[in-house]
Symmetry: C2
Subunit: 212 residues, 2 copies
């Protein structure tokens, strides 16, 4: 399979990539897919530059790629910060990137996916169980989950879409653990399995929750 | 109680208002709160103009009102339309109005609410069970539900926030019924009760689902 991994060099993405190394992988990200210093992974892998906050950048990416079997997005940032002083402006980056970025991947990319191809987006536990200071991220994750429910029943040619909603993942414990007191860290293997079920399975419109 | 009803002259809002007519009601909306030709309702009721798509308009509204016991929003529109040709632009109105509009009501309004006061927002069944062509509305409703989960644990001075998620309401059957084949119409009394539980009750961070 030809699989596009947006954010495929990130914390979650690189573990998903490692589990797909018998496939043709195309890594993409703002830094050309290689934000972690790694290269390679998968057969005939390559790296591409994309900024999902820009519809034009997404369109250009799909135009220069071959027809894809799967498009996976593990990229996107949200805003954690004080609610008392939060304004709309604090939400803008997250809305533009993680939310509209992933939505645009689908709206634009659906015509570049082969029949039966799939999208796998990423939300997160905050949709149901936000941490302190995580209201913006909660909002974005809830939006992605519900978007996928709608999109799943609209895609044509047997194309599928699912979303993986990870909890606090083990590999982010050091960096983010202090922001999530009492959140059980999720083993990376479980998170990876969530993505594999979506990419290699037959499910459509599933919110694959990888926590608790 | 002094209760601000944004969209209080709309389909749902006017029924909520009727059930609160022993309170001091302030109706607000783009047309000055009176989009349906009715006036009055509640003791000492008044009508105010606000466009929740504009943070400046929201700020001005709160500045000229007395300290409130409750802020209720039943206003906001989404986009229903063909997914195949949908672009980000189709989502912009819904994001600006129903989503960021309601969020800004909370971010701005929280400082104008009395201690123990409450917000009641409105999402909808599409968050879980979108209709055909309803992906944008699904996304917006899912975002509002998760925003409320986050905001509920951040508000100070015992302020509360809940969201009512109505199904297809009886009074909208004639106008919207054809877009929702097989959706059980929800009696208005049940919808109103959802709002009353939030406004007059003690719950916080509840997604009050009024369907099925």
């Amino acid at each position: 399979m030809k699989i596009l991994l947006i954010g495929g060099r990130g914390t979650i993405g690189k573990k998903v990539a490692a589990a797909l190394d018998n496939h043709e992988l195309i890594f993409a990200g703002r830094g050309g897919g290689d934000i972690s210093g790694h290269t390679g992974g998968g057969i005939a892998s390559r790296d591409e530059q994309v900024d999902i906050a820009s519809p034009a950048s997404i369109e250009k990416l799909f135009q220069r790629l071959p027809v894809l079997d799967a498009c996976v997005c593990t990229a996107g940032t949200g805003y954690y910060g004080d609610f008392q002083t939060m304004t709309e402006a604090h939400m803008t980056n997250g809305i533009r990137g993680k939310l509209l970025g992933q939505i645009n991947l689908v709206l634009i990319g659906k015509d570049y996916l082969r029949e039966g191809g799939s999208f796998t987006l990423t939300s997160g536990v905050a949709a149901e169980m936000p941490a302190h200071n995580g209201t913006t991220v909660a909002m974005i994750n809830g939006a992605i989950n519900s978007f996928v429910l709608g999109a799943a029943q609209e895609l044509k040619q047997d194309k599928r879409i699912n979303v993986v909603s990870p909890g606090l993942v083990e590999d982010s414990m050091e960096r983010y653990g202090a922001m999530f007191p009492g959140y059980d860290p999720v083993p990376m293997a479980r998170v990876v399995n969530g993505y594999l079920r979506s990419i290699l399975g037959a499910g459509n419109g599933k919110v694959i929750k990888v926590y608790q």
